[in-house]
């Protein structure tokens, strides 16, 4: 297999073509609707992806608020390109040893899924021919681009998609690698290295969705497939491996279909609405009423191959349904999954009889109120079935949360860019490059070396700080005089343990001052190191400040005297064991004591106190 990555990172320098804040917001002050047309290019065919989208005839609703202006609404020409964003892109280009172009020309890339109010995305090629070294391997970086992010999809209903304009226009740096990656693990490693480089500029946005990856995967005998918009670096491996497996499955499926001489006829669909009039529930209920039709087509030789042959996770039936959905339908039903959905064995037999199907033959059917839409959906499903006879169709797929992917659209063609006439070319002067070269940020490996050197931290901890995007906070807290080890532990262990325990709850991002106060309390002995996660948990659960969190966690009022008293009580209760086993009694008793201390005193202090008490009891026994 071969894979290449496209990493898209949002920048935190304001929007690319206007002065709106690059902030997502829940505030909506205005809404409006638009429709987009696939504009015919000058004397050339309409781009295939663009045409597919436009044919869906959707209405796009847009929500505007404090993070958008007339530029995002496509009601005002773009303002001049954000110079800070360009500086960041050029900085990355220099860090990747790439060659900046002499003059940047902003282009319009046609996108008619509604995610851009203009119907195109503004994008510019900034540099070419870079190189990235990861674990001793070199990867080419053919292009570094600067482009505007799309609007954020917030809702979807039949016939209408709602986008919020807050994300539209946030600058994105796009870094593409050559197709030189040979495994999922390698893909992940390269993505992480690029992520660290991006963060080294200190001008990137942080948090879920601020970095997105497209992964291009092709396998021997397969085809290039683009998995678009993976949001978590650590899952890249999973998607790459999943796609490799899917392509392998499709190739095996093709062989099985060819052995059976399966074919996809081009007969028009049959209207079998009359058979479904009595279906009481499910998608076919209501057939014959209000214009709802049921259309069916035969797939000779496909029986049994539409649903999971050999228990494989992938299914051709699902692919067909995804294509039918692209025409605006809920889905499609195939004979391998019947009887179901209120469709009885009798109806199935009748359909099979009408189509004169043999045992090996399958059928697919759809239902909709529009004959035209239903026909288009079936045609798309049949096109996909036809592609199954060839193997792997080249396409763009959406990553799903369960690690699988789903068809979204055909691979876009190449001819969908033309110049953005509202922005003049931008020269990249030698002087600008000199200035940026002089101010290049520390590279991730330099940063690692420096942190290890100046703070005496172990290599693995430093790596976690650098690749976990924690250096900024680490350095700020260390600069306040907190011990490096304690800060690193807080950021790499204590905080993640709180976060991972809170799935589905909005990410807990304590302010720097809060972390400062937690560390201060630990250093002053007011809470033990072991109590830090408990305090963070209380803060995440809504404690207004650190004092309240310590209170709520029940970590107050346990003094040194209380500890001594507790230890004395535990040891005396076990005096017999202490006398019998001596120092060997320490371990079981330490466990008992720590359970009661609950992080209110430092572990070392507890252990010293216990040792002392055991010694005291033993000395009494011998004395």
């Amino acid at each position: 297999m071969k894979a290449g990555l496209e990493v898209h990172q949002q920048l935190a320098v304001g929007k690319l073509f206007c002065q709106c804040p690059a902030e997502l917001t829940e505030e909506v002050s205005d809404a409006f609707t638009r429709s987009l047309r696939a504009a015919g290019g000058e004397n050339r065919s309409v781009d295939v992806a663009a045409a597919l989208q436009a044919s869906r005839g959707l209405v796009y609703r847009y929500e505007a608020g404090p993070s958008s202006c007339l530029v995002e609404m496509d009601e005002e020409p773009p303002h001049p390109l954000n110079e800070a964003a360009l500086d960041t892109a050029l900085t990355l280009a220099l860090m990747l040893h790439a060659r900046p172009v002499d003059e940047i020309e902003v282009m319009r890339k046609i996108v008619v899924d509604g995610s851009n109010t203009s119907g195109f995305q503004r994008t510019a090629l900034v540099a070419v021919d870079g190189v990235l070294e990861v674990s001793g391997r070199r990867y080419s970086i053919p292009t570094i681009c600067l482009e505007e992010d799309a609007a954020r999809k917030v809702r979807e209903s039949p016939g209408e998609v709602t986008y919020r304009l807050d994300r539209l226009g946030i600058p994105l740096v796009e870094i593409a690698t050559g197709p030189e990656i040979t495994s999922g693990a390698e893909a992940r490693e390269v993505a992480e290295e690029i992520g660290a480089l991006l963060r080294a500029t200190r001008h990137v946005r942080r948090g879920i969705g601020t970095i997105r990856e497209d992964v291009n995967v092709s396998t021997e005998g397969g085809h290039r497939v683009e998995v678009k918009g993976v949001q978590e670096l650590r899952r890249i491996q999973e998607y790459v491996e999943g796609e490799v497996a899917r392509q392998k499955f499709l190739l095996e499926l093709r062989d099985a279909l060819l052995r059976r001489h399966a074919r996809v006829p081009s007969d028009p669909p049959r209207d079998v609405t009359d058979l479904f009039r009595e279906v009481p529930s499910g998608p076919f209920a209501g057939a014959g009423r209000g214009g709802q039709v049921v259309l069916v087509v035969a797939l000779p030789g496909f029986a049994g191959l539409l649903r999971s042959p050999g228990g494989h996770e992938e299914r051709l039936g699902r692919e067909l349904a995804d294509h039918a959905r692209s025409a605006g339908l809920r889905g499609l039903v195939h004979s391998d999954e019947l009887p179901a959905y209120g469709v009885t064995e009798t109806i199935v037999s009748e359909v099979r009889a009408r189509l004169s199907l043999a045992e090996d033959d399958a059928f697919v059917m759809v239902t909709d109120r529009s004959v035209e839409r239903a026909s288009v959906a079936l045609r798309r499903a049949l096109d996909r079935a036809r592609a199954a006879l060839e193997g792997v169709p080249g396409e763009t797929r959406d990553p799903l949360p369960d690690g699988r992917t789903r068809f979204s659209r055909p691979l876009p063609g190449r001819d969908r860019m033309y110049p953005e006439t509202d922005i003049p070319p931008i020269p990249i002067t030698a002087e600008r490059l000199r200035r940026l070269r002089a101010e290049l940020p520390e590279r991730p490996e330099e940063l690692e070396a420096r942190l290890a050197r100046s703070h005496g931290l172990p290599g693995e901890v430093v790596r976690q700080l650098v690749y976990g995007d924690l250096v900024g906070r680490f350095e700020s807290l260390a600069a306040k005089g907190h011990p490096a080890g304690l800060v690193a532990r807080l950021l790499t262990q204590d905080l993640p343990s709180v976060l991972s325990g809170r799935e589905g709850v909005p990410a807990f991002e304590p302010a720097l001052e809060v972390l400062d106060a937690v560390l201060g309390a630990a250093e002053a002995g007011r809470i033990a190191k072991e109590g830090v996660p408990t305090v963070l948990g209380a803060l995440a659960a809504g404690a207004p400040n650190v004092e309240a969190a310590i209170e709520r966690a029940g970590l107050t009022g346990f003094s040194r005297d209380d500890l001594v008293a507790l230890v004395r009580r535990v040891v005396e209760a076990n005096a017999e064991m202490v006398r019998a086993r001596g120092e060997a009694a320490f371990s079981p008793l330490m466990g008992d004591v720590m359970r009661e201390v609950r992080g209110r005193r430092d572990g070392r202090e507890v252990s010293e106190t216990l040792h002392a008490e055991i010694a005291r009891v033993r000395s009494q026994a011998t004395g």
Partner: protein
Amino acid sequence: MSDTPASDVWKELSALPTGRHVEITDPDGRRWSGTVVPRHDFSGDRVLQLKLESGYNIGVRIEPTFRYRLLDSAPTPVASPSRAPPTASPPGAGAWIALLTTGGTIASRVDYETGGVRPVKEEREILDFFPELEASGRVRIVPVFDRLSEDLVPDDWRVLAEKVAATFAAGARGIVVAHGTDTLGFTAAALSFLLVDLPGPVVLVGAQRSPDRPSSDGASNLRAAVEVAHDSRIGEVVVVMHAGPSDDRFAIHRGTWVRKMHSSRRDAFRSRNGPPLGTVDGNKVELHLPVRAPVAGPARVDGPIDTRAGLLWFYPGLTPERAARFAEGCRGVVLAGTGLGHVGADQLGWIRAATARGVVVAMTTQCLEGNVEPYVYSTGRELLRAGVVYLGDLLPETAYAKMVWALGHSSDPEEVAKLLTRDRAGEFHKRHGPRDPS
């Protein structure tokens, strides 16, 4: 180092025609290869614009030490026509409307390779571009001009009016005029005064976003305009454009009431002094105010016009000398005065002199809403005494178009003043409602 004179490589490269495929190599052996595209107006010195294989355009600064070679033997045609052969709209019976094209954004498109804008002229090309045009019936395309609206002059208003009358005479049921938006308000007002006995609607329409963009408002504005052009209740000149930022609601403005109130918004066109005549909601034409009904016709142009008219915006610091020079050679001057229709007292001298020699001086308000009123302040009373004609709530542009029309109808200043103040196309609002009309 090469001995070639510094400009040679650049000279040769910059002389290459669009579409040539070149590879450029710098002294370090680094290469660029791509297709030559037209140079951008604002490109830097010695910068060659290339379209790369990826589709991106970039600029390469050509140093004297660079070398190049051509990768093709003949220019690759950047675009090759693949359109269907032109077919005129089918002749025969049935109602049809006409689309008169004058140029402007709505009838221009971007060349996808170069980014340059060029006008669309061919009938088939326009119908290909706006397939929805024929959705509600037959449409005939009548090219009139091919100019941006800021390049149109009052004489063009007359030519356009003649074309409208002739097209009605040829049997059109309604007429749509595709027009650049910058001066669309002027043309709409001028046609309102020039055209009489209209048998159907004359609908001016434009686009604030060029039609090559998927988001262009041109197609939906045109569709709405065609709907209005089919409406048999309307016998006057109207403007149909977006009513808001959404693509499904359009306003129908009276030609004399409308003004472009924003440089770029889709809903830039607003009726002043009151609500628009009606709306198009989806495909439904709704009229909220009485409109002039169609008459049997034939439509006529009530010319001629006299272009010796001027429109002068008063501002603090406008010297009477400068204003007087502006009025030279004019038979009529429309003033856009402040507030209720005022200019500085020092302007009275040249105004008195102008009216004394037979120049018609008319007053409108630069507030763009509300009546002018000469009696409230002394300046107004002085101006009235100086012979200034007060024009109610007419927009300055509408008053100017009316002046051009009125001057063509009489050489007598008093007669011109009468024509100016008499309602002709429903241009005056008799009352102003309490609702904010914006």
